[in-house]
């Protein structure tokens, strides 16, 4: 069912590893060249920048072509006609994706990815238009409208299964968030339904992953698992998932009226239980993405605990969080470095991948530019005293609006 042969994808995986190792000087240039020649395959790839631009222009072409078709041939069509044609475009886009993969052998090339994304988009828009033409505004009350996100989620999962695009599970998860809105108006029930669907997905990943532990598929499953863990956490953490209330997130005390007290406090307890579970699983399986999901969940738990408890936020709270994060990092590093060869229980603080160096260099250049703007807070309304902040020009806060 996979669009690419296992041998080709395994060769791509091997090439990525070789590049990593060569970047860290574990291989000489001659060794790297020779080994790379022996891991060739017939897939056509490109670098990340061209991939992004190719993705963008494919979206432009498909969008313009579809719109042009409507303008030239249909004028002002009825909703049902529009929907049927959109479904037809979805089929064409999907067929084009298959062709781009099977004939042109494109692999993470941007073009086939954009075509796949368009097929999902057209599918949802088409179903929505057809349903609306039949049920009008009652699609919300009858629950039929849930067909749209359901179809989107299934299509995204199929794209993931067929082409292995790592962000497809995220798209499926986003579609799932819209599902319960058609079924119930109860906020707790909506949270529970989404969490249950994510948990089911997680169980499926648990069942499938072990057989791919050391293959090229491990990375894809790792990303899916990390996203699902994070999705469950965000849905359970009511301080994050009540998106309509995000605006007053920093306001401190939050009303709990929309949720029953047992539900509210159960979710609070789970927000404390989930991060260690995720972290433990990630560390036990040595899974970078799951560890990252656990670390993010842990940080979010610390950051949202006060609003959860209805306590007032203090200006020094971020300082305490920062000290904790830095302390954990230094302690872990020292603990690992203290072992023979700097390796303790299979973990090390040393850099072992050329990719890590590249990520850090790119991240340092990018975040070094934007971080001063992010961290300097806006002046507090009605606060006496100085009003510096903003860091508008990015000059590390020194350029604030005095």
């Amino acid at each position: 069912m996979r669009a690419y042969s296992a041998s080709a994808e395994e060769a791509v995986h091997a090439r990525e590893l070789l590049k990593d190792w060569a970047g860290e000087d574990f291989l000489t240039a001659e060794q790297y060249q020779r080994m790379q020649q022996e891991t060739g395959c017939n897939l056509r790839r490109t670098n990340i920048f061209l991939r992004l631009v190719l993705f963008l222009f494919t979206l432009i072409i498909v969008g313009a072509a579809a719109a042009l078709f409507f303008v030239v041939f249909l004028g002002r069509p009825e909703m049902r006609t529009t929907g049927i044609w959109l479904l037809f475009f979805a089929a064409i886009c999907y067929a084009a994706t298959e062709l781009a993969v099977s004939r042109a052998r494109l692999y993470r090339y941007g073009i086939e990815e954009a075509l796949a994304a368009c097929s999902v988009g057209f599918l949802c828009a088409g179903i929505q238009a057809v349903l609306y033409s039949i049920y009008h505004y009652s699609i919300m009350s009858t629950g039929t409208g849930s067909l749209v996100p359901a179809a989107g989620a299934i299509a995204a999962l199929w794209i993931w299964h067929r082409f292995g695009l790592p962000y497809a599970p995220l798209a499926a998860m986003i579609f799932v968030v819209w599902l319960p809105g058609y079924w119930t108006s109860s906020q707790p029930a909506r949270h529970l339904i989404v969490a249950a669907i994510y948990a089911a997905g997680l169980l499926a990943v648990f069942a499938l992953r072990p057989r791919h532990r050391f293959t090229f598929l491990n990375g894809e499953y790792a990303i899916a698992e990390a996203l699902l863990w994070l999705g469950i956490y965000v849905i359970i953490n009511l301080q994050l998932s009540a998106l309509n209330l995000l605006g007053d997130w920093w306001g401190g005390v939050r009303g709990t009226g929309e949720f029953s007290r047992p539900f509210y406090w159960t979710t609070w307890a789970i927000t404390w239980c989930l991060p260690p579970v995720i972290l433990a699983r990630g560390l036990r399986r040595k899974d970078r993405f799951v560890i990252a999901a656990g670390a993010i969940a842990a940080t979010l738990t610390l950051a949202t605990n006060k609003p959860y408890l209805g306590l007032e936020r203090h200006t020094w709270d971020p300082m305490l969080l920062g000290i904790l994060l830095v302390g954990v990092a230094f302690f872990t590093r020292r603990w690992l470095a203290g072992a023979p060869d700097g390796i303790r229980r299979g973990f090390t603080a040393r850099r072992l991948s050329g990719k890590d160096k590249q990520w850090l260099s790119a991240g340092a250049a990018t975040f070094g530019l934007v971080s001063p703007h992010m961290i300097t807070p806006s002046p507090q309304a009605g606060t006496p005293g100085v009003k510096f902040g903003g860091g508008d020009s990015g000059g590390a806060g020194a350029t604030s609006d005095f």
């Binding site: 041998s7 080709a8 395994e10 060769a11 590893l17 190792w21 574990f26 291989l27 060794q31 080994m35 017939n42 056509r44 790839r45 490109t46 670098n47 061209l50 190719l54 222009f57 432009i60 072409i61 313009a64 042009l68 090339y109 073009i111 532990r213 050391f214 293959t215 040595k286 560890i291 670390a295 020094w316 969080l321 920062g322 994060l325 830095v326 990092a329 090390t348 603080a349 040393r350 850099r351 850090l360 340092a364 250049a365 070094g368 530019l369 934007v370 001063p372 992010m374 005293g385 100085v386 510096f388 902040g389 020009s393 000059g395 590390a396 806060g397 020194a398 350029t399 604030s400 005095f402």
Partner: protein, 330 residues
């Protein structure tokens, strides 16, 4: 695929060799030594597993959270705490950070220095951010340079450039470049509202200065690996500035010529140096600029959509040709 630590397995494409099997083969062929085989086979199974990236991200997030809280606390509570307390605390943090860095840093080298550990980079970053907070506080409270606070930016940029080169730190280099941008009058968050001619000139001057300085320092062999950072920032600022000229209602022709010249240079640089971010800049900025002019007076839907379809296909073909010619096959 094979389960567990399966070596060879039958896949859809026939025999599948996983990385461990390949390493075995390369060892038998003598391509890699037994020691390399042991190391690489372990790494392919995440043995040992490196937490290097995670620890760096944790430190970076921690420093940002700390400085964010520090700035917020100082701005909120300065009157209650008093100037002396605030300045003593900030100065102590600053002095301790810089003392740590200067006392632990290895001897300076013009080439890329090997990393001396996690602490130094992030303590330096902390020190630089504390410097900024303290400088902002000083000016706000004591008005040492009333109406001329841009000099603080120049001073800050100078200090950060020195520190970036002394400690070989890209974080601090980026801070220096953004401070210098501030001095030139660039304010990232003000882009949409300040597209006047003077602003554009400053932006172009900034990008030329940064690009030229980066090239000169590279030519002199001073931290040549920083050149990519200089060039990327200079290119983006230049493109934004020129694009803002193209979007003018009048006198945009000269800016269009400048944009095309910049795109040509960026494309040539990207292809010859295999730095494809510059190819992407040329494609995106060039397309946006040229399209802005061509569709400006286009009021017919069919013509408008046809334009995007035809030019989109043309761009796609061009980019695919570049990709096929210059980038990798798998």
């Amino acid at each position: 695929m094979a389960g567990g630590r399966g070596r060879n397995a039958i896949g859809e494409g026939g025999i599948v060799m996983d990385i461990v099997s390949r390493l075995d083969q390369w060892k038998e062929q003598g391509t890699i030594s037994p020691e390399q085989h042991t190391l690489l086979a372990g790494l392919s199974r995440s043995e040992p597993f490196s937490l290097f990236l995670e620890l760096n991200i944790l430190l970076y997030a921690g420093i940002l959270a700390f400085i964010g809280g520090l700035g917020w606390t100082v701005s909120t509570w300065s009157e209650q705490l008093g100037d002396v307390v605030v300045l003593v605390v900030l100065s102590a943090l600053l002095a301790t950070s810089f003392w740590y860095c200067f006392s632990r840093a290895p001897a300076w080298s013009a080439a890329e220095s090997p990393s001396t550990g996690l602490a130094l980079d992030y303590v330096l970053y902390l020190g630089c951010l504390v410097w900024s907070v303290e400088l902002a506080y000083l000016e706000n409270r004591f008005h040492l340079l009333p109406g001329q606070w841009d000099f603080y930016l120049l001073l800050t940029a100078g200090v950060f450039f020195f520190l970036a080169y002394r400690f070989d730190n890209r974080f601090v280099l980026s801070l220096a470049l953004s401070s210098l941008a501030g001095w030139f009058g660039l304010t990232v968050s003000h882009w949409p509202s300040h597209q006047d001619a003077a602003y554009r000139q400053y932006a172009i001057l900034y990008s030329l200065t940064v690009g030229g300085a980066g090239a000169a320092l590279k030519r002199r062999g001073l931290k040549s690996h920083f050149f990519g950072t200089y060039l990327n920032i200079a290119a983006n600022v230049l493109f934004w500035a020129v694009l803002s000229g193209v979007f003018q209602r009048e006198g945009y022709a000269v800016w269009l010529v400048c944009l095309l010249a910049a795109c040509g240079a960026s494309l040539a640089w990207g292809i010859t140096r295999r730095q494809f971010s510059f190819v992407a800049y040329a494609a995106v900025y060039g397309y946006v600029g040229v399209s802005a002019i061509l569709i400006r007076d286009m009021h017919n839907d069919t013509a408008f959509l046809s334009y995007f379809f035809v030019t989109g296909v043309a761009m796609l073909v061009l980019l695919v040709l570049i990709a096929r010619r210059y980038t990798r096959e798998a």
